[in-house]
Assembly symmetry: C2
Homo-oligomer: 329 residues x 2
Amino acid sequence: MVTLADVARQAGVSLATASRVFGRPEMVGAETTARVIEVADRLGYIANSTARALARGSSGLLGLVVPQLSSSYFAPLISAVQSEVESSGFELIIVDSHGCPESEVEIAGRLRGRVDGLIFASPRSSGAALAEVARGFPIVTVNRELSDFDSVSVDVAAGLTELCGLLIARGHRTIAYLGGPAGSLSDDGRFLTVRTALEDNGGEARRFGPVEPKVSAGTESFSMLQRGGVSAVIAYNALVAHGLMLAAAAVGAKVPEDLAVAAVDDLIDIGLGLPSLTAITQPMGEAGSSAGRMLVAQVARPRGADSDAGTRTAQHLVLPSTLVIGETC
Amino acid sequence: MVTLADVARQAGVSLATASRVFGRPEMVGAETTARVIEVADRLGYIANSTARALARGSSGLLGLVVPQLSSSYFAPLISAVQSEVESSGFELIIVDSHGCPESEVEIAGRLRGRVDGLIFASPRSSGAALAEVARGFPIVTVNRELSDFDSVSVDVAAGLTELCGLLIARGHRTIAYLGGPAGSLSDDGRFLTVRTALEDNGGEARRFGPVEPKVSAGTESFSMLQRGGVSAVIAYNALVAHGLMLAAAAVGAKVPEDLAVAAVDDLIDIGLGLPSLTAITQPMGEAGSSAGRMLVAQVARPRGADSDAGTRTAQHLVLPSTLVIGETC
DNA sequence: CATACTTATGCAAGCGCTTACATGCACTGT
DNA sequence: ACAGTGCATGTAAGCGCTTGCATAAGTATG
């Protein structure tokens, strides 16, 4: 393995100068720079980022903890975080917590000594547990506001309220909410929002579920909804909604005439042959870029931090969701 | 930040002993161990993996380069690699090359100084370029055999040949191959396999495409196939196949009577309301675990490597694909 | 021409941890 | 009683790089 010392020796400069050629080129004379670079790639020198990290006191590594790596919901977020931090010169370690709060804490502990900062996407752990493990460490949470940490979240509530207004306006009164997986924090919130929005407008919300967020769950829930005496349904996500629509088609029921269907999220681009879905779309990509940007900003700060002695107040960014009105309502 | 030196001082032992408590506990007396550990977590000591990496000469980091991060095809592979290397005590850096050969090389260069080894999933770069950037570095490739590096690949050809046999046996003679994205290495190989398998059995292969691997591509290609005078089609993947089936349903054509449909990969679990797809499924999860395991083995070797002085011969693991016969044939 | 300032480079002290080697000590067998 | 053995611990030399400070030119200023 060829080290910077080898390069320096061969180029006839000191180790310090060689180092500066790569780290602070503006401090080095032009010919020296050229010579060092020439020698470096003649020798096939590859900088050892570990040593650099140790000397600099920061690793250039950021972590992202997601509840599910292979989920179309998080995919755009992951990609966006990835390219955002990459363009700031960081590398990203993505870890799957499998939606398990204990894993989240365990992972955070493991990663603390390794990365410069951490993003938690939709964390399920208690705020206390997170605060504990992340104290004094750069953190950004997504879709979860914790007072001590920066966060970015998507305002699904506004979209849901708008959707409820739409349904009421189109004459629906008794509306089903077909909820997502048991224990989902967002699920409870969504139902509450729907109920409030409906009751404020003379409607009524009926909660069904919980169901797995899968197409089959939708298919299987259809007859239950039919018997439930509702004229519209708001499904936890697009997979479930598609399941409902497939089941409806199978028994000859018409959407939206017999049952109006709407969903949060629009995960799949399958909508061919089926009416286009009315859905509340969340800007997950944007959320990812923002989270990445906020984390990079936090990590970069310490160098020149005077005014805010480690106690700056946390920023909370809220992104709007969009109600996309399709043919299913 | 509390360092190991702080812990050692407070516990009244030398730095070396404190270090051994965490790295080689069997070398330290029981009470000493207990005391050090007690002090360590009283002080909230967190080991600095960067320093450890530098001293040990290895980072405990592995890299995985995929052409597309958010792809259902790679998802099981990514998860499997993840958990495999994690269980061996490594952390994983996943980077998206966006299917671009230059990115692959650039990423490899960037990561070389940072990780202990690299997995390339379905790399598109020339073998020479990869060999160049990865010389003398632990590497495993997936779905690409390079003589210098370990690899694991899935034998789609066998499955395709079996599928062709099945189609011939069921009376099909002129069969379409609806290919995937332009420039895909696997695509050419697949068509060749199909053609050979069919011609050996008195059938004929017609190549259509290339098309994007999307549902809509299938939908749009349907009428072209109808005019093409084929009785069966082998699609690049399940998305395309579903598109075909949706289009068939839309015009009242029957699958498999009017057109038999098969595909490589079975990516989506949407198959409800549609006949179940005949598909060649690839064990991507298993491929991932194997790749992870092989890389870990390579990385671990150097310590006690005597016999194989850096020139051990590369291992090539081939995993079988499975032909799953559904109702669409 | 002396002074101050700028620019390019070198020196050496770390960054926090691991580990080969040395030390000290309590046993064991003879 | 003494060398031999093995265990628990300490000493110190790094791992490869960055960076504050010192130094030595060269340039501008009065």
